[in-house]
Amino acid sequence: MKKDTSLCYHFFKPSLGDPKMKISGQEVEHVALLARLKFSQAEKERFTTQLNSILEYMDKLKELDTSQVEPTFHAVTRKNVFREDQVLPSSPQDLTLSNAPDGDRGFFRVPKIIE
């Protein structure tokens, strides 16, 4: 069965389940797909519990009124760090392929992407 890899663009609506649960098992599955991870049933249950207690803790931030506060994305801001558009040496092909799990005639070989 062909898997639907377009799910990464799917907008997921929060579950309306148990209000005490921040994240449901179903949402954990969805996030796992976004992150290209998978879990066994036991791992999924463990992660769901752990993620829930961590996210509960994050609720602390709701105590603060940040409506007038600008976000900080970088500690020390630099803007528009450019260089001259000059061709500089780059990594030679053999070196670049040196760690390839599967290389072939100068290419990285991977499972078929398009049917």
């Binding site: 890899t5 997921f12 976004l34 992150a35 993620l51 931030l61 900080t72 390839a100 078929k112």
Partner: protein
Amino acid sequence: MNLYEMTAHRLHDLLARKEITSRELTESVLKRVEEVEGRIHAYITLTPDMALEQAVAADLRIQKGEAEPLTGIPLAVKDVICTRGVRTTCGSHILENFIPPYDATVTEKLKAAGAVFIGKTNMDEFAMGSSTENSFYGPSRNPWDLDRIPGGSSGGSAAAVAADECIVSLGSDTGGSIRQPAACCGVVGMKPTYGRVSRYGLVAFASSLDQIGPFSKDVRDTALLLNAISGHEPRDSTSVDLPVPDYTRALGGDVRGMVLGVPQETFGKGIDPEVAGSVREAIEVLIKLGAKIVDVSLPHSDYALAVYYIIAPCEASSNLARYDGVKYGFRAGGGEDLLDMYQETRWQGFGAEVKRRIMLGTYALSAGYYDAYYLKASRVRTLIRKDFEEAFRRCDALILPTAPTPAFRLGEKVDDPLQMYLSDIFTIPCNLAGLPGLSLPCGFTGEGLPIGLQILGNFFQEEKILRVAWAFEQNTEHHLRKPIL
């Protein structure tokens, strides 16, 4: 005293006066590694052949009178920093056989200085952790008590210096990963201001928080390493174009007239009474040395952990997306299609803590949650930054404990991620603000475990931090104690 027990600055004098050779020194360190490494497990990869070649080259330079402070000095590098031709695993299965085709900037600089590379040190996987228990290669142990953690994520680098398995080392600090292990292992560890040291070749965990920094046996060695690794570098576009002073010139003075702030929020939060006592004694020492102490407040301290554990995993989820089995690293076999390959590779290749943080970060950035989590945390990050701005109007540097407890036992906190995260409550805020910070030993518990004092400074004020640290160190003897191995 054995050569391996000495500091870089003392060894430099002996080398420059030709009383010893780098070859002898390197052999002394390698022999020490053989003696204790089985018990400490500070290293993932040892490079004795390369070390001896570099030692011989260093000796030639020294002969010609071309020695720099680190020429011929054996050091270790955390396995999150790329070393050309030498396996760099980041403590992970997914990079178990990854051999970088290039050197990180800091590696290049240390090689140019003539340093001798003993090996790559153990760490929590992808720098995520506070105990080094998350390493795929097994934990490192605290040289002061082999049943205890050396701290994390740079546990190997800290333990190696504490056990004299190298003279100095490099680590990386995203939420405290240099300072907290330094405190656990009784050595000096420093995180420079964000942008002071190039991150080119540092495998990224959280790009707005990561910085490389030194571990050493005393403050003078910290200054020497900082001199060697700092500087603007175009391949890291976040590195800052400011000149690098000679940090050793910050040493040798005193703290008279300096104003040191103690955040009043510090002494409440579940802090171990011996740690609190030791830090209070340290403050008394600084007062005797002529510093003025003021109480300051960092009112948003309580929120820093939540902010960090949203922002860091968010950035990590993006940075670790590259580990997909395509171009390098581990690739799982037997999958049906590309998605299978990605999922199997990442499921098998990553450990539990890494997966947990990728999941947290992906969730917090996903549509519908981005505002409530990542954006909210980024706004609170501004409030935290402003707390420091306010505090630094009234003082030259801040003094507080590095960690709330001394080193805990192996296995004690592995099952409770949130408990583990609490180890970083005092170190996290300065990463969020991008400020420099240092930890040095200020005492020992009744059981003989090291306690760390943390000194924080304003942007690019490493000199003020070093000045306070040096004065404190020279008037106490904690840095002279060694673990019994």
